[in-house]
Amino acid sequence: MIINTTILSWVTFIYFGSAIFYIFKMVTGKEFWGSLASIIAFIGLIAQTVGLILRWFESYKMGIGHAPLSNLYESLIFFSWTIVLLYLIIEWRIKSRNLGAFVVPFAFFSMAFASFSPNVNARIQPLIPALQSNWLISHVITCFFGYAALTIACGLGFMYLLKGLEKGERPRLFFRLLPGREIVDELTYQSVVIGFIFLTLGIITGSVWAYSAWGSYWSWDPKETWSLITWFIYAAMLHSRFVRGWRGKRMAIMSIIGFTSVLFTYFGVNYLPGLHSYF
């Protein structure tokens, strides 16, 4: 095994540990577990960054140098990297560690899928002609930052719904430790906005690329179509908030529905015939 894949498969375990400690923190309410989880997540992020950079170097050593963003394995790694990066920024800004239990598991699942699924090839492969484009990096980066922000919105949606289960005058400690509903709602909205803007940028950079590679900026390829469907869902969500004033539970449910569409855009489309066959 090459060094970068070894590092990256270790990162899977690091994120697993971090996710477990975030859950400990949420259940027990002890800040100790939260700090531990944050530190571990941060170490994981640094190790993952090093792994990605090493992978980049190794590809150059092999004479087929390209950014590590070119197949399913690399996209899954990058996906979890963006999730943890965005999450840690949010944690640092809101000074609360409760969200980790809802977000870091996604990063772990993505890493685990990349590292252990027999269908995911971890080898560094050269770029086929269709991927030899300067648009590869900007397209993949914008798409995955969008996916990551929408993943965080989904985690917040789950958190909001869980919060909705609390009953009575004096709810259990567990519920009291979760942030207030307005804060969760506002954070969901902000994450969706960031995700929506990056998704838009991802669609536009993809169109520009398609215009120089496939002969048309829009071909109704399944991935294109599903990205548009996802865009519609989040556009509808933002409109119902601005125009109808929808808040809270409805937003939480919509952020989860939107995320299933994101997942289908990312994975499900691979089972349909189309041009995006390399991801």
């Binding site: 269709a130 030899q132 803007i197 109704w220």
Partner: protein, 455 residues
């Protein structure tokens, strides 16, 4: 009646319904194979179902009449909604509320009111200076012992959403122009050949170009692990037999000629390929010819035409072979010319007697030899002309601009009241914002900190 129809057109409900229908239809479109993806995929459907799908235009759904109507309705809805809400936004943008409104100062949190031990006039001056530096449309109103100020910033943020809607309409317009005035086409050109006729994609039929494209060479290169590295077509573009433009066409590097963009889309080998045949006349004359299937050449002495009927890489497991039909006034002679005829004869000595068509010397006084067979590539080119692209690009740019304005700016309105309280000057700050309450809070806190520092 008219009014209810208009309000239906401008309702968010219609938007949501349309978005859901378009989304569901698009999902169907990704499941049912679309025509241009190649027809063989709907063979497993029953003929009845194919008929139903055909009448609903489901095999070319994204260009079907009903899908276009849906898109048209969505655009109409977008226009009506935007026009409906525009006057209110314009009012928010242009009107300046009076500085001495009471409402902004109701229910002010205690931290929004500060007391300063300084002369009121001095305080008023410094408040006004600060506001003028940081805010726009400053209004001042002096009452007996109270002075009011109004200021705002980011009024343009009310228009962000209209920029987005307008740019989506621009994109739809560009796409419509492209599909009405542009075309997409494809053509396969074997190496060494040229053409000026291409097959239209959606519109069907053929199109004649007013120039000729020649494929001089097609080549593929591979990485060490066997993955394709590069597809390259060397193309020449000719007008009146003069080469105007020449260049390599690669994936991701289209060539534009005469306003038409050429893309490297696919490749393949022509049936048979290229055969190198040596024609030997009683060991005195020898010529080697490079031929393709359906080619023919002439044998002057016998007034005969040799037609290359078939080129087989491995005919009946006996290796490369070429089928010739030699036509002369007396009739047609068929010969299969094998590359490995010697080995075949060694194994079956009376082969030629048994199967006369396998005799390379059957047509006397000639003797045919097959030297080798090579693959003959054709390049698959995609062509497109789309006058709407520039419009779509402009629209996309403004979508991003509109999104940035909508989500990263807010219309902040600020009311400041300065009055006396127990010999001190009191400053109260009330503020509203169309979005971004967090940013607004940060801003008023900053302003109050500045005011209190002058005391």
């Amino acid at each position: 009646m008219k009014k209810t129809f208009f309000s239906f057109l401008s309702s968010l409900k219609l938007t949501i319904i349309l978005l859901i229908i378009i989304a569901v239809a698009s999902i169907v479109g990704t499941i049912i194979p679309q025509q241009y993806e190649g027809g063989e995929s709907f063979q497993h459907l029953s003929p009845g179902l194919v008929k139903v799908f055909n009448s609903l235009q489901l095999f070319d759904m994204y260009h079907s009449v009903w899908f276009i109507i849906l898109m048209g309705l969505l655009s109409l809805n977008l226009i009506v909604c935007s026009l409906n809400r525009l006057p209110a936004s314009w009012k928010l943008f242009s009107t300046i509320p009076s500085p001495d409104r009471r409402k902004p100062f109701e229910h002010l949190p205690p931290e929004s009111v500060i007391l300063i031990e300084k002369d009121r006039n001095e305080v008023i001056n410094s408040v006004e200076n600060r506001l003028r530096r940081k805010y726009k449309k400053i209004r001042r109103k002096d009452a007996d012992s109270i002075t009011f100020f109004y200021g705002e910033k980011g009024a343009y943020s009310n228009f962000g959403v209209y920029i987005i809607h307008l740019s989506i309409l621009i994109i739809i317009t560009g796409a419509t122009i492209g599909s009405l005035l542009g075309f997409g086409a494809f053509v396969n050109i074997p190496e060494g050949e040229s053409t000026n006729t291409v097959h239209l994609g959606r519109q069907k039929g053929v199109k004649k170009l007013d120039f000729t494209v020649r494929c001089d060479k097609f080549s593929i290169s591979f990485y060490d692990n066997g993955m394709p590295k590069e597809y390259r077509s060397n193309l020449s573009f000719l007008k009146d037999n003069n080469v105007i433009l020449q260049g390599p066409l690669l994936v991701n590097h289209p060539i534009t000629f005469n306003g038409i963009r050429f893309y490297q889309a696919s490749y393949g080998t022509t049936p048979g390929g290229l055969a190198y045949i040596t024609v030997n006349r009683e060991n005195t004359e020898e010529t080697t010819l490079k031929v393709k299937q359906k080619d023919s050449f002439y044998l002057k002495e016998k007034n005969a035409t040799v037609n290359i009927v078939k080129i087989e890489k491995n005919f009946m497991s006996m290796g490369p072979a070429v089928l010739l039909h030699i036509q002369n006034p007396e009739g047609t002679v068929r010969i299969w010319v094998f590359k490995r005829i010697e080995q075949m004869r060694d194994r079956i000595p009376d082969l030629i007697k048994k199967v006369p068509t396998f005799n390379p010397g059957r047509y006397k006084p000639y003797y045919f030899e097959l030297n080798r067979i090579e693959s003959n590539y054709y390049t698959g080119l995609q062509l497109s002309q789309d006058p709407g692209v520039v419009i779509v690009a402009i629209g996309s740019f403004f979508v991003i601009l509109g999104l940035s304005i909508t989500f990263f700016s807010s219309h902040k309105r600020l009311w400041v009241r300065v009055d006396d309280q127990e010999g001190k000057s009191r400053i109260s700050v009330g503020a509203t914002s169309n979005k971004d309450p967090v940013g607004l809070k940060r801003e008023t806190e900053y302003l109050l900190r500045h005011f209190s520092s002058m005391g």
